[in-house]
């Protein structure tokens, strides 16, 4: 088991290296000279040339890439923002926790509401509860995020005055509205996934057996069906987490939360290459760690998978887990 974890962590190195190279390359293709953007629209010719030189933008691409990779992977330094000179690690240290909190609250809401709704739908298959839940879930996917966000604000902040409309100054309370907005997509997917995997499990033989033995319906659902039906939900949890971490920029903008999303997007607009690169690398690492944790959770829930991890053909398992 430990060997498996170590191996997976080692695997992250080439992936993160790949991410670094890819993002670095993409950024160099962005139109616009970063020096010009840093200096502003009225900079003089000489100043521009000097700044371009200072940022190393005159070096050949491979030299710049090489220098960057050495800085990141050998000196373990993401550098400082070109725009503000502030260390990127410091900024990420401030911003990541906010995005992380937002993501966790979002997932908590999405799964906390999605799983029960999915179970209700599955246990009442083809009844009105089922249709209602699924329509509700589908509407969740269909409504554009920022529209819903503003609607929530109008109701819960302006009308009711329950929750802060923006910012992060009220602690966890500040995150409720943004999370409720951001969760809709994941909530719907979760409800639907729970429903279909529960249906699959409910139809299987051992549930029928359990029922025929006279186990109360409630126990059948909670003890037997749920446990096995949850496995695909865990995978979903992991990948949703990863996606959300980098996909919060709109929510962060609407609710004025200074998180990773707005950090990266401002940097793209400013052509602040080190920040885009550093931020993305950081998100990629977080994402990979998430996937690892998911796989481990997987093993914890399903003894068969645990046995496979510990067994010989690890490589194949890994592929399957990924697929």
């Amino acid at each position: 088991m430990i060997r498996y974890v170590l191996k997976r962590i080692l695997w992250m190195i080439p992936i993160v290296l790949g991410v670094a190279i890819l993002v670095f390359t993409l950024m160099t293709f962005c139109p616009g000279n970063p020096a010009e953007i840093i200096l502003g629209s009225t900079a003089t010719e000489d100043a521009l040339l000097a700044k371009t030189e200072e940022l190393g933008l005159n070096d050949p691409f491979l030299v710049r890439l090489g220098n960057y990779l050495v800085d990141v992977f050998i000196k373990r330094d993401l550098g400082a923002s070109w725009a503000t000179n502030v260390s990127i690690m410091t900024s990420i240290g401030e911003r990541l926790p906010r995005t992380l909190t937002l993501t966790l609250v979002t997932l908590f809401l999405a799964f906390g509401l999605g799983i029960p709704l999915g179970i209700v739908a599955a246990t009442h298959q083809n009844q009105w509860q089922d249709s209602l839940s699924m329509v509700f879930a589908l509407i969740g996917v269909a409504i554009p995020n920022f529209w819903l966000g503003l609607m929530f604000v109008l109701l819960f902040s302006v009308r009711l005055g329950w929750l802060p409309s923006m910012g992060i100054s009220d602690g966890l309370k500040s995150y409720i509205l943004p999370a409720a907005t951001a969760m809709m997509g994941a909530f719907a997917t979760c409800a639907r996934q729970t429903r279909s995997s529960m249906l699959e499990v409910i139809r299987s033989d051992y549930i029928t057996t359990a029922r025929s033995k006279g186990v109360p319906e409630r126990d059948v659902i909670v003890k037997h069906a749920l446990k096995n039906g949850l496995i695909p939900i865990i995978t979903m949890f992991g990948s949703t987490f990863g996606h959300m971490l980098g996909g919060m920029m709109i929510i962060e903008t609407v609710f004025a939360i200074p998180g990773m999303g707005t950090y990266i997007i401002t940097a793209v607009n400013n052509r602040d290459y080190p920040v885009v690169q550093g931020g993305t690398i950081f998100l990629a690492i977080t994402f990979s760690l998430c996937m690892l944790i998911v796989d481990l959770l997987y093993a914890a829930v399903d003894p068969r998978i645990k046995a496979q991890y510990e067994g010989q053909n690890k490589k194949k398992i890994k592929k399957e887990a990924e697929a």
């Binding site: 502003g40 900079a43 000179n85 302006v158 409309s165 607009n269």
Partner: protein, 512 residues
């Protein structure tokens, strides 16, 4: 299940109907929303966002413009020039100290100016020949030219930062700041919010400060709100006490509502349409086509469509707030909307149905403005496409007239000469002027105005008339600035900034 649903639904409906808006807490803090909070506290910054309401609190400068556009001494005690504005001797006040206790002397002032020259973030520093310390509290500033406004700009952009404190900072004041200002920045979150508190150990008595920057509020909190609707919501829910320069559509909602005080002032920049000066563009050398476009624009409708009537037509290319503007221009015709004339001019021009491009920023009102202009020009038979680009693209291409035929921009400056220098000086950039044009006739007219004695009504008139006649740029309209605050904060004794809108931290409040 059914029951639960209905109870929940009923509860939500009931609360939605009977809920009330929370009042703002009276905590002695002035909370202000603005569209941008800086991403760093560095005193060396480019021109972008230069007229934000907070910079005079973050740092003190050598001089400051009051609302009458007169330069008042601040950290400087006095200055004089013997050679008609080429060389200035500046004397600093005594006993200036920053919040770390380091004295601010001529060394620091000279260092700051030299550093600004080296960093070249503001073009005005490019006009400095040399700066030298002549005593503990005096230095001599030599300028390459005596263009009107240069010295004033250097004085207002040179801050009270000591070299010792700056060098002690690990990130060049990227995340924290030590300045001579009576306000200390506490809790700075880049691009999001920051708080400033009056410090006890300010180097002089507040009464000795210039009235236009004399703090009255013990604690100010600026918060960045990018979303227009969220700005209004923040005001209503008491998150902020005041919103500075809110989008017009949002600001209008509070007009006539006694709970809010709305202040409308003339914009200090206005919107301009610049025509490409690059020979590749059909408009570059076709005066008739440019004039046709100007005639095709219905300014009143433009103001109606984009500012809901809350704006004024421009009679010069630039804003009437700038020094040098002459109110007599308002009696002249400035291409009034005349479709027939526009069509006639198109017919007389060399225009052959090419599609002209309008470059504009993809943010804010610009894309909407471009669409309205497109519609106007189409009516005159001119084909137009819009290129609403992100800021990086604009910065990279704005001086290259081959990349657009028209460019919507908003140009600032205290003097008309400031705006002219960055737009129409054919020697300003390697590509020519701001649109790749090489108009040396205009250049000579400009240079005439660039001396203290040359900045006369007559010379300014010449430039104004030349710009209007050649129509290489056209003033679209000037939107009003909207500031709104909760009436219950009891704002009295209004103090205004040089941009003519309220300067919140220097006013008095009875209900904070």
């Amino acid at each position: 299940m059914k029951k639960l649903f209905s109870i929940l639904l009923a509860a939500i409906v009931a609360l939605a109907l009977f809920g009330t808006v929370l009042a703002a807490p009276k905590d002695g803090v002035l909370d202000i929303a603005y569209s941008i909070v800086p991403d760093s506290l560095t005193p060396f910054r480019p021109e972008v966002n230069r007229d934000a309401p907070y910079f005079t609190q973050i740092c003190e400068s050598l001089g400051v413009f009051n609302s009458d556009k007169v330069l008042e001494p601040w950290l400087a005690k006095s200055w004089n020039t013997d050679d008609n504005g080429f060389t200035y001797t500046v004397e600093l006040r005594e006993g200036i100290k920053d919040s770390a206790g380091n004295p601010f002397t001529a060394d620091d002032a000279v260092w700051f100016i030299q550093e600004s020259v080296a960093r070249a973030l503001k073009p005005v520093y490019n006009k400095i020949e040399s700066v030298e310390k002549t005593g503990d509290l005096t230095f001599e500033l030599k300028l390459k030219s005596n263009i009107v406004g240069t010295f004033e700009k250097i004085m207002t952009e040179s801050y009270g930062i000591t070299k010792a404190s700056f060098e002690a900072s690990p990130d060049e004041f990227g995340s924290s700041l030590v300045s001579t200002s009576p306000y200390a920045v506490t809790n700075f979150v880049a691009s999001s919010e920051f708080t400033m508190e009056l410090r006890e150990d300010y180097w002089q008595a507040l009464e000795d400060m210039p009235a236009c920057v004399r703090p009255t509020v013990a604690k100010v909190h600026y918060v960045q709100i990018a979303e227009a609707s969220q700005m209004g919501i923040a005001l209503e829910t008491g998150v902020v006490d005041m919103v500075m320069r809110m989008p017009i559509a949002t600001g209008m909602q509070y007009e006539g509502n006694p709970a809010y005080t709305v202040e409308k002032t003339s914009g200090h920049q206005g919107y301009q349409l610049f025509f490409s000066g690059a020979d590749t563009s059909p408009v570059a050398n076709d005066q008739k086509l440019r004039q046709a476009i100007a005639y095709s624009i219905n300014n009143e409708a433009l103001i109606q469509a984009l500012a809901y009537g809350n704006g004024e037509p421009l009679y010069d290319v630039h804003s009437p707030v700038m020094i040098g503007y002459n109110p007599k221009w308002e009696n002249e015709e400035n291409y009034p909307y005349d479709l027939a004339k526009a069509k006639q001019l198109v017919a007389e021009s060399d225009y052959k149905g090419q599609t002209l491009s309008i470059l504009c920023s993809g943010n804010g009102d610009m894309p909407r403005m471009a669409q309205v202009l497109q519609a106007f020009m189409m009516q005159a038979g001119i084909n137009v496409e819009i290129n609403a680009a992100e800021m990086a693209y604009i910065v990279a291409n704005r001086l290259d007239g081959t990349k657009y035929d028209m460019f919507i921009n908003t140009i600032g400056g205290v003097y008309l000469a400031d705006a002219w220098a960055i737009r129409y000086d054919p020697n300003a950039y390697s590509t020519g002027d701001g649109t790749s044009r090489h108009d040396y006739v205009l250049g000579d007219l400009l240079y005439e105005t660039w001396t203290p004695e040359g900045y006369t009504e007559e010379n300014i008139d010449k430039v104004h008339n030349y710009l209007k006649e050649s129509c290489i740029a056209y003033g679209l309209y000037n939107p009003y600035n909207y500031c709104a605050w909760r009436t219950d904060i009891g704002l009295t004794n209004e103090v205004y900034s040089v941009s003519q809108h309220i300067a919140p931290t220097y006013c008095t409040y009875t209900g904070l």
